[in-house]
Amino acid sequence: MPVTVKTFATSGEAASALSSERDARYLGGGTLVMRALNEGDLSISTVVRATDRALTQIEFASSRITIGAGVTFARVLAERELAFLHPVATSIGGPAVRNMGTVGGNLFAPTPFGDFAVALLALDATVSVQGGYGARDVPIEEFLAGRDRQQGALVLSVSCQRPHGEAFRYRKISRIKPKGGSLVTLAALLPSSGGRIVGARISYGAMAAMPVRAKAAERAIEGRAVDAASVAAAVAAATEGTSPANDSFASAWYRREVIGVHLRRLLTGQE
């Protein structure tokens, strides 16, 4: 069924069209919306686009980084300042998908996809959203929790603090390398102060319907040095609060079995 395509010059106009029309979806890089159309998804009647250049800007203000929602993973890889996000962008798709897929769109990618969102969750990112009534900043956790209701809102950008040194860690486990759907994806922000972890954030992909924080594992390591005892405590709590999917990449049982192994490797920096 043909859909109506509406293209706007500003994100504001696109946001109002998106919020005022039922069954409208915003088209970023196309890897989610065009896929749905190719599969004959009749729930989409209008495709909204914006050519607003502000959506593809990357801003560096002191220690805070703001990435426009329309920035592609290829662009992320081309920015030396975003080196800490390069392992994340590299783990997504092949070159063509990275030339198309966007940072904003990844927030909506269904499990087991959405690896960039997993990283942003660990980085405690803020999502800037334009609704029918103006723009607001939402913590990524809140955004993801209400993701299914966010279809009528337009994501403008995501922002986060640049992590210090080795504080940010990421790994994606997949059967096919260098590209493949996630068995489990892990990201962690482990800032240390005087040899102890202060403000630990650990997040998982493919361990629930959307990226989730491993709060029990975070508590196990918070305020402690990364040593055998604290790592063992975090690993023991690794599956708490998760409900992994059964899909063609892995069973829920398998994901629960291996998440602790990969969490241990992530925390100890082991390959």
Binding site: P2, T31, E39, V47, R49, P95, A96, P178
Partner: protein, 159 residues
């Protein structure tokens, strides 16, 4: 449903077509422009058979909304050869038995061209990364990787 006028460069010539809302670039190339070289594989971004270059960068034409290429340059396998002369990549694919059933070949060739256009002397790892989004169920990839490397060194020898 009204159609939208769309103009773009297709392999160094201008084309103008009327597309339905929501039409993909792949459907537009095959059904309206008559270029059958990009293939429909999965329609999900998983196989790479529909890979084309848009302004020199590899894109999946099945996931590209046709109207987004307005005024842009689209390159497909159909534009690779020069008259009767095959492109060095095409010759290398023949010489290294890099095609069996041939369905993935147009996408493989365009992904490889995107690589060589940016990086004329890639390493083996570069080639593996460049074709990571393209699935081949026949050759097992080794002949394809060898062909791309051969085309790269062939190009250097001529330069």
């Amino acid at each position: 449903m009204t159609k939208t006028a769309l103009q773009f460069r297709h392999n160094d010539r201008d084309v103008a077509v009327f597309v339905d809302g929501g039409a993909s670039l792949l459907g537009t190339l095959r059904d309206l422009v008559g270029d059958m070289t990009p293939k429909f594989g999965c329609g999900q971004g998983g196989c790479g058979a529909c890979t084309v270059l848009i302004d020199g960068e590899a894109h999946l034409s099945c996931l590209t909304l046709a109207v987004t290429v307005e005024g842009r340059a689209v390159e497909t396998l159909d534009g690779l050869k020069d008259g009767a002369n095959l492109h060095p990549l095409q010759r290398a694919f023949m010489e290294h038995f890099a095609a069996q059933c041939g369905y993935c070949t147009p996408g493989m060739l365009m992904a490889a061209k995107a690589l060589l256009d940016h990086n004329p002397s890639p390493t083996r790892a570069d080639v593996v990364n460049a074709i990571a989004g393209n699935i081949c169920r026949c050759t097992g990839y080794e002949p394809i990787i060898n062909a791309v490397l051969a085309a790269a060194s062939g190009g250097r020898a001529r330069a």
